[in-house]
Symmetry: C2
Subunit: 273 residues, 2 copies
């Protein structure tokens, strides 16, 4: 048997694994820190469980809405709640499109059915929804509303982009995903680069998951702390402790980190130098 190169599916699973194992990672689950109900093992179980959905994306068997929903349901086979919903929003089109350029094409071809499936997947996660969101996932009439407005999944992301940085990646050619992959490749240190690049992401834009949970002022404060770490004014560890103390987890930036890791891996970035 010759040894085959890693498939796109395996590279996406590796991206999920490398993200969650990185240290130090302010606020989020990592090697040194579980949440009470969501552990390192849940994130790693998700990276194993989602595989069939990624494989179908790689074979282009299924639509983006179907496959985001499938990945979400498959990872629901543990008790750790939502771990990667945002990551799947980015990884499914990136796998299907074999990178950013192809993904940009696929997301523009999404349909109203994709939007309905996406909301159904959303309803299976424990993701907090902004109170003022008029497309309430708990509203059984959401499918009717999407149909009446003729909203595709791409339209949903455009609608969500101002308040959700994962959705925003769909609307700006995966801007932060691209930048994350480039920084990983430029760094040249392999896995050691992950937490440095994540710090850069934290300093670059306020995390919209934090903004939804705690308000935009808090998200801004977390960003300011990241800037202070980069400026050497506080330590990486102090920043981590602040986030843990306040139960602040920059979950959307972690999703973008995963997407960036995936793109970097597909472009030859090596993690274990």
């Amino acid at each position: 048997m010759g040894v085959p190169p890693l498939t796109l599916t395996e590279q996406a699973q590796m991206a999920m694994m490398l993200e969650v194992c990185a240290v130090t990672k302010p606020g989020n689950v990592d090697r040194g820190h579980d949440y009470p109900d969501t552990w390192l093992e849940h994130f790693l179980a998700s990276s194993l469980f989602c595989r069939p959905a990624f494989e179908r994306a790689e074979q282009k068997k299924g639509t983006i809405g179907e496959l985001i929903r499938e990945a979400t349901l498959l990872t629901g086979r543990h008790r750790g709640g939502n771990t990667h919903f945002g990551a799947f929003i980015l990884l499914v089109p990136l796998i299907m499109g074999r990178g950013i350029e192809g993904a940009c094409q696929h997301i523009r071809e999404t349909t109203i059915e994709d939007a309905i499936l996406f909301y159904d997947a959303f309803a299976h996660t424990a993701v907090r929804v902004h109170d003022s969101d008029e497309l309430d996932i708990n509203d059984p009439a959401v499918a009717d509303k999407l149909r009446a407005r003729g909203m595709t999944l791409f339209d949903v992301m455009v609608h969500s982009a101002p308040m959700d940085m994962v959705a925003r990646e769909w609307t700006n050619s995966f801007h932060l995903t691209r930048k994350t992959a480039d920084l990983l490749k430029e760094d040249g240190r392999g896995r050691e680069a992950v937490s440095s690049v994540f710090l850069w992401l934290l300093a670059e834009e306020p995390d919209t998951f934090i903004a939804k949970k705690f308000g935009s002022e808090r998200a801004g404060r977390v960003r300011d702390q990241a800037i202070q770490v980069l400026a050497g004014q506080i330590s990486h560890t102090e920043f981590d402790e602040y986030c843990i103390r306040e139960s602040i987890n920059p979950g959307s930036l972690a999703d973008i980190m995963i997407a960036g890791l995936f793109v970097a891996l597909t472009e030859g970035w090596e993690w274990d130098l």
Copy 2:
């Protein structure tokens, strides 16, 4: 889409993941401790990379020798060296046999060709071989010797059993694997049980990987320390620090732990209570 139950392949991958993430685990790689050249991420990458070999075992496509070799080559796609060679010796027949009883049947049906493939796989790992082992894996004539002696892979394990506790599992109906699975199920705490059961294993029999590397006296001392932890005479952490200081890793018991976790998972043991 209905959500399918975990496949045997996924349960075997979960066993590998849960073993390496367990804390505190004296001497071995865990969440808090990498080796210089073999990291937590390498163990987790292996648990992703070996999947196609496990799937073929689940579908009974291939022989035990072929699939141990395939899993070993697939996990060679990182720079962390050998992580799970011993685990594959146990997992491949356990997956193929859907548990211990079936595994016992499959291993007795192995052939001389399986033995040759096994030695070829062995040659791809960085596993240290006992100097006095007359079947030297670096000996190109090993295939001829196996053929001349008519040794099947089962015969090789019988030959190795006195000095290798992983091989011994093949000869005694997976005795420690069975006991490990039973203890996990009896404990009832899910993942918290893993390090307790591992401590029991350490106290039960001296690790033959340590014996091969450092001699049987050292392996006995490690076992004595485990007994002292169980007796409350030293702490789990002190034991871990001793192993790390002395570069002692009970690798064969970790392989058996993985096999026990797999059997427990297939029998309904739940890890995330």
